[in-house]
Amino acid sequence: MNIFKKLAVTTAIAVTLAASPSLATERIALVVKSLGNGFFDAAAKGAEKAAAELGDVEVIYTGPTAATAEGQIEIVNSLIAQNVDAIAISSNDPDALVPALKKAMDRGIKVISWDSGVAQDGRMVHLNPSDTGLIGETIIKLAADYLPEGGDVAILSASSTATNQNAWIDAAKEILPTKFPNINLVSVVYGDDDSVKSTNEAKGLIANHPDLKAIIAPTTVGVVAAAQVVTDMDLIGKVNVTGLALPSEFKKFIDNGSSQAVALWNPIDLGYSAVQISHQLIKGAKAEAGATFSLGSVGEITLDDAGSAAMAAPFQFDASNIEEFSKIY
């Protein structure tokens, strides 16, 4: 009898111990720069989608009211107190968040950054929305897709000192002769992300290059200015405007035909991928150079030496999907 009792108790304990980990829900916090931003609300939708696919994952979508590092630190502290399993953050400051996130990692929480990164010692993985090469290729492809016979194109950039813009343009120039031999890049001008200056520069491009077939503006300010110029000068159908654009700002130009297609990172996929990576880290995946993570339906990434990886080429918006995405961001 006594032995049976002991056996029963031991079994009960063993069952409880074995059962409890599977009962526990994984809690992954998606911390964004600020709430009330359509881009991040869309990322949260993607995160929920990943959670639903994985099952047994709870997404905590949170962020400060104003986009400050201090506000995010308060949130990270409260997430540490709640002992969440992972924190996936789009940070307001690559350096200031490091001490708080280090503390989180010391207490066993998996930390990744996505979209806007954190310095390497403050996170395990960083997920870039895209990478330089992919963006450079995409912006040319956006123009080339609608120019079967080739032709002259020009780039309207932000400022001449913007590191990311210059890197994209260099990547585009590099890929031109091999992949797009009949596309002729005639000029690169700088609108400084200022509407008025961008408008003037776009007008200048059209005046100086009568055969211009497309203006590529890899900046959300420049692309709107260029499309407005094309609309105002009645050049719809003659000059195609493309580049990186926010669907909500740009919808009217897709609608009126001044642009065939534009691209930008897809926030839904970003949130989705962030949760996928966090989940694998919780399950014991190691974040080291060369490690591979599955992004579910989005694809797969391999970490580089800095523990970061790029998700995918920018997501393309055209007449078929601009309506849907313009409501999101």
């Binding site: 709430l35 949170t62 590092a69 400051d93 200031a96």
Partner: protein, 334 residues
């Protein structure tokens, strides 16, 4: 004839007994609110009652509270300083600049304090020396100080502060008791003594109630106001050291929007925004209340915007409550 015999009449020192005053005072009301919040928080979240959680939570308010004590004195004297957050930014930026020049930890601390006092003295000179309204001056210097930070840093950041420097914002004195928290308690004590136990403190109240009368009574109004601006600057310098150390880096957007949180803390603490009255105890408890609200709601993952609605509502309720109570009381008497 015996009717004319002089009668002795007892005149009380105080209208109410000290005990009754203490029980129905503002700090007591705040204390009740704070305790209620603490109990509510422990019921709302299973994660609240943990030594480390509570210790982490103190970082949400200690830096702001350290400025709030000095700000309380300034507001009691009838002035205000809206540039405190900008002083933090400038002070932190100059520390970062000196770091690049190879300064060590102790020199950085000195630089942080010095820049703070200098900014405070600048505000004080404009207000006292030129007789400009402090709200206008400090709205100006708010942009001015932060503007300098932006010019120096642009979209860059200073980092690489020495390891010893991290102690101020990340270090622990004993177990979960952080250096920041100990400093907060110490500063509270210093300001309590300064405001409530010294002639200097009495003079601040007199100035706040009637600066002209104070002037004619021999109180050096201008000098005291100038000192108060410098004190607020000094405290902002201290907060800059703590925050910079906690973040381990400096950006020109550091401490953005803190001036309003500091002033909210002061007003919630029962300091009359018109000057002339208030206590340090009130501000002390108000600091805890703000910390409890933001941490408690944070644990429930309540979005920040809802949090600011809570703080706003609490501010209005706590300020309106005694006024409403007073009106009811006077109506009952009438």
């Amino acid at each position: 004839m015996s009717d004319l015999k002089p009668q002795t009449r007892h005149i009380a020192d105080r209208l109410e007994s000290p005990l009754k005053l203490a029980v129905f005072s503002w700090p007591s009301l705040l204390l009740v609110v704070a305790i209620a919040l603490f109990i509510l928080n422990s019921f709302m979240s299973p994660y609240f009652l943990s030594a480390w959680s509570l210790s982490d939570a103190t970082f949400n308010f200690t830096e702001k509270a350290i400025i709030a004590f000095a700000m309380a004195l300034l507001i009691i004297s009838g002035e205000i300083d809206l540039s405190v957050a900008a002083i933090i930014a400038l002070s932190s930026t100059i520390m970062g600049l000196c770091l690049q020049l190879g300064f060590g930890t102790s020199e950085l601390v000195f630089v942080g304090l010095f820049v703070g006092v200098l900014c405070g003295a600048f505000n004080g000179t404009l207000v006292v020396g030129l007789g400009l309204p402090s709200i206008v001056v400090t709205i100006g210097t708010m942009s001015f100080f932060r503007g300098i930070s932006f010019i120096i840093l642009g979209d860059q950041a200073f980092n690489g502060y020495p390891a010893e420097f991290a102690f101020f914002g990340q270090g622990y004195v004993w177990w979960v008791i952080s250096f920041e928290f100990v400093l907060f308690l110490f500063v509270a004590l210093v300001y309590f003594v300064l405001l409530h136990k010294t002639n200097f403190g009495r003079q601040i109240f007199v100035i706040g109630n009637n600066a002209t009368a104070a002037q004619f009574s021999g109180v050096r109004v201008k000098r005291i106001k100038f000192i108060l601006f410098c004190l607020v600057g000094l405290m902002s310098g201290i907060a800059a050291i703590l925050l910079t150390s906690r973040l381990g880096s400096t950006r020109p957007s550091i401490a953005q929007g803190w001036e309003l949180e500091v002033i909210t803390m002061v007003v919630l603490g029962g300091i009359s925004i018109l000057g002339g009255s208030g206590t340090i105890q009130g501000v002390f408890i108000a600091a805890f209340i703000m910390g409890l609200i933001s941490f408690g709601l944070g644990l429930l993952n309540v979005p920040g915007i809802v949090m600011s609605i809570f703080i706003g509502a609490l501010l209005i309720i706590v300020i309106a409550l005694p006024i409403i109570a007073g009106k009811i009381k006077s109506r009952l008497k009438a």
